[in-house]
């Protein structure tokens, strides 16, 4: 899970990393009160769990009431990379001398945590030049290593001291909260040489959630996502009209790819996990019935041990209960497939021998 900026900053504050005064709100009424408290000038920042906010107009300077009344609703109304605003952060404007970059992340290929620092911050990491990269094992940063980074960055005086302090606090945060990525970009040098975290990015390792009940408050789930998680499903909602269901992440991704190759638009990625049962397929259909944009369902199940008749039962039950009235295009690999076909003969579910045939039929029928 990627936290919102203001949530990441809550953690930064808890760990003593320097921040400018800021307040988050979810309505303009609330925002007006905060604006008075904070005083102009400040920056209005959209809170979405994706990058590229600045380019999309999601960060606006604000100098007076008129600008505030105009820009707050503007920024709040933006959708960035499909993500609507979760909140607005008002943050005091700063007089900055220079911008730095600092992050600690899980380095997948080296299988350790790694620091990236640069004396040139403010842009996306891919374009950050002169990166200083240090592998740090399980995430601990010694004084010696912190000093080494400071030296390579050419920092001096108060800025150097602040940097060592920030880096060590960031390391502690990464370890204690089991982050996959903690990033400060930009980490600003102020006129007096001190450092301030102007932005914050924090990605958790969701598999460690059971050890971090204190992070539960940052969980943001729709009803559908919550039900999916309860059933042990993986669900990613997409904006097309054909729901894609299967067992196993790789198989469902592969089905998504083939559907897109054939001109179909996936409405979701739904992995029901290891085995498929009547109950799990029925629950998957229940979740899909709640997605209004769906016009058809593509099912790709590779059941080594799964009986396809068990899956067919779920389809029949879903029609019988009026849960769905959508056409289902399905490829079921497993035992008793002839019997399953017979069961579904007069229903709106068609069974195909290959996924390619199922996709072709789905794309043809949904387009019309």
């Amino acid at each position: 899970m990627q936290l919102l900026e203001f949530q990441a900053k809550e953690l930064f504050r808890e760990y003593g990393i320097n921040l400018l005064p800021s307040i988050s709100s979810t309505s303009i009424e609330e925002g007006r009160i905060h604006a008075k408290k904070l005083g102009y000038p400040f920056v209005i920042k959209i809170q979405v769990p994706v990058g590229g906010r600045g380019k999309a107009g999601g960060i606006q300077k604000c100098h007076n009431d008129d600008e505030f009344e105009l820009k707050y609703p503007q920024v709040f109304g933006l959708t960035i990379k499909g993500e609507k605003a979760r909140a607005i952060l008002l943050e005091k404007m700063a007089d900055i001398k220079k911008e730095l970059y600092l992050s600690i992340f899980l380095n997948r290929s080296k299988r350790c945590y790694t620091i990236i620092a640069s004396a040139e911050g403010g842009v996306e990491i891919e374009s950050v030049k002169n990166q200083i990269i240090k592998e740090i094992g399980m995430g601990d940063v010694s004084d010696e290593l912190a000093q080494e980074v400071v030296k390579e960055m050419g920092l001096e005086g108060r800025t150097a001291d602040d940097f060592v302090d920030t880096l060590k606090k960031l390391s502690k945060l990464t370890i204690e909260k089991e982050a996959e990525l903690v990033e400060i970009n930009p980490l600003a040098i102020m006129q007096d040489g001190s450092l301030m975290a102007l932005d914050g990015k924090f990605v958790t390792d969701d598999n460690s959630n059971f050890r971090h009940p204190e992070m539960d408050k940052y969980q943001e789930k729709t009803e559908i996502e919550e039900r999916a998680e309860k059933s042990g499903f993986s669900l990613v909602e997409l904006d097309g009209d054909i729901a894609v269901v299967g067992n196993g992440a790789g198989l469902v991704m592969s089905t998504l790819d083939m559907l897109a190759d054939n001109g179909g638009k996936p409405a979701c990625f739904l992995d029901v996990g290891g085995g498929a049962t009547t109950e799990s397929v029925y629950e998957a259909l229940t979740l899909i019935s709640k997605m209004k944009r769906v016009k058809g369902i593509l099912v790709n199940l590779y059941g080594g041990i799964v009986k396809t008749t068990v899956v067919a039962e779920a389809f029949l039950k879903a029609y019988e209960d009026n849960l769905i009235d959508l056409p289902v295009f399905s490829r079921l690999k497993g035992t008793e497939s002839e019997k399953a076909k017979e069961m579904l003969k007069d229903s709106r579910t068609k069974i195909f021998d290959s996924i390619e045939e199922a996709i072709n039929a789905a794309v043809m029928e949904i387009k019309n």
Binding site: R111, E126, D205, L238, A249, G250, L251, M253, D257, M258
Partner: protein, 305 residues
């Protein structure tokens, strides 16, 4: 002969040649017991189970259960263990195995925190042990030994090595290979997590020198750069045997985890395009559909004849 075959199959002079003992950790759980029976039915020599507190009992009236891996190893001398415990108990179970001298540890659980995986990899390095997983379907030499959860039908003894991040795609593609007459010498599930005990490149190193291997199939997916690293390695050592790849997730949106903890594209890092272009550089064709894998492999084999 490479190390992985020494461990899984052994050599003709070994008293336990082709019947290497395997310990099942979590054998009394619903999942562990189901798959212990499936492995035995496949012919895998399950010599012991481990469930703390149930030492002294027997599983299905024949497999002795111990409280710790240490006791199980003392009694059986097994070097292979497979873990079926829930993710939150994985760290303890894996430490128990590695500290008891297990040399091949197959880690089935999904949702293991990445710090626990890192810690286990650190211990495995010190002990000279191999970790397969976590979040893996396991490892098998078809028709000889299965240490994992794969259904048996897709696989057949043969000469193609299959390395895969995904479980169901491993079954799907092995099935297609088998139907096309390409049996498998070994299949290794790397796992779908961001950090793997055995990376694709490590798995490749395990199999690349097999004398009777006739081809290699790599089943990758979006996320990380292990496919790119493997492709670079294939270029660097001038590996010439026919190889074909498949990459899942071309149509996946960025910055979304697609089912597997590791299947996520961040910026351009982990994208399907990056992986496909590296495989192309290594002269490895990338199939667009699972069913295309055997077709491309047959084409490569014809050329190399």
């Amino acid at each position: 002969m490479t190390e992985i075959f020494d461990i899984l199959r052994g050599n003709p002079e070994d008293s336990d040649y082709k019947k290497k003992g395997v310990i099942v950790q979590g054998i009394t759980g619903a999942y562990g017991s189901l798959h212990a029976r499936n492995m035995m039915a496949y012919g895998t020599n399950i010599v012991a189970g481990v469930t703390p507190g149930k030492g002294g009992q027997k599983f299905d009236d024949k497999v002795p259960i111990y409280n710790t891996v240490n006791e199980a190893v003392d009694a059986t001398g097994a070097k292979i263990s497979i873990i079926y415990v829930p993710a939150k108990f994985f760290l303890g179970a894996a430490k128990d195995a590695l500290e008891s001298g297990i040399k091949l540890l197959v880690a089935i659980p999904e949702h293991v925190p990445v710090r626990d995986t890192l810690e286990i990899i650190g211990i495995a390095k010190q002990k000279g042990a191999i970790i397969i997983g976590p979040n893996t379907p396991g490892i098998m030499i078809p028709d000889l030994i299965k240490v994992g959860i794969m259904p048996p039908m897709p696989f057949k003894e043969g000469k193609i090595a299959v390395l895969s991040k995904s479980g169901t795609l491993l079954y799907e593609i092995s099935d297609a290979l088998t139907r096309a007459g390409f049996g498998q010498s070994i299949t290794i599930g790397i796992g779908g997590d961001p950090v793997n005990g055995t990376r694709l490149v490590d798995a490749f190193d395990m199999v690349k020198d097999l004398p009777d291997m006739e081809g290699l199939v790599i089943v990758g997916e979006i996320g990380g750069d292990s496919e790119e690293i493997l492709a670079q390695r294939i270029i660097d050592i001038g590996f010439k045997k026919p190889a074909v790849a498949y990459i899942a997730g071309r149509a996946a949106p960025k910055e979304k985890r697609m089912g597997h903890a590791g299947a996520i594209v961040m910026g351009t890092y982990g994208s399907a395009e990056s992986k496909i272009s590296m495989f192309n550089k290594a002269n490895i064709p990338v199939a667009k559909r699972p069913a295309e894998v055997p077709v491309l492999l047959a084409g490569k084999m014809e050329k190399s004849d």
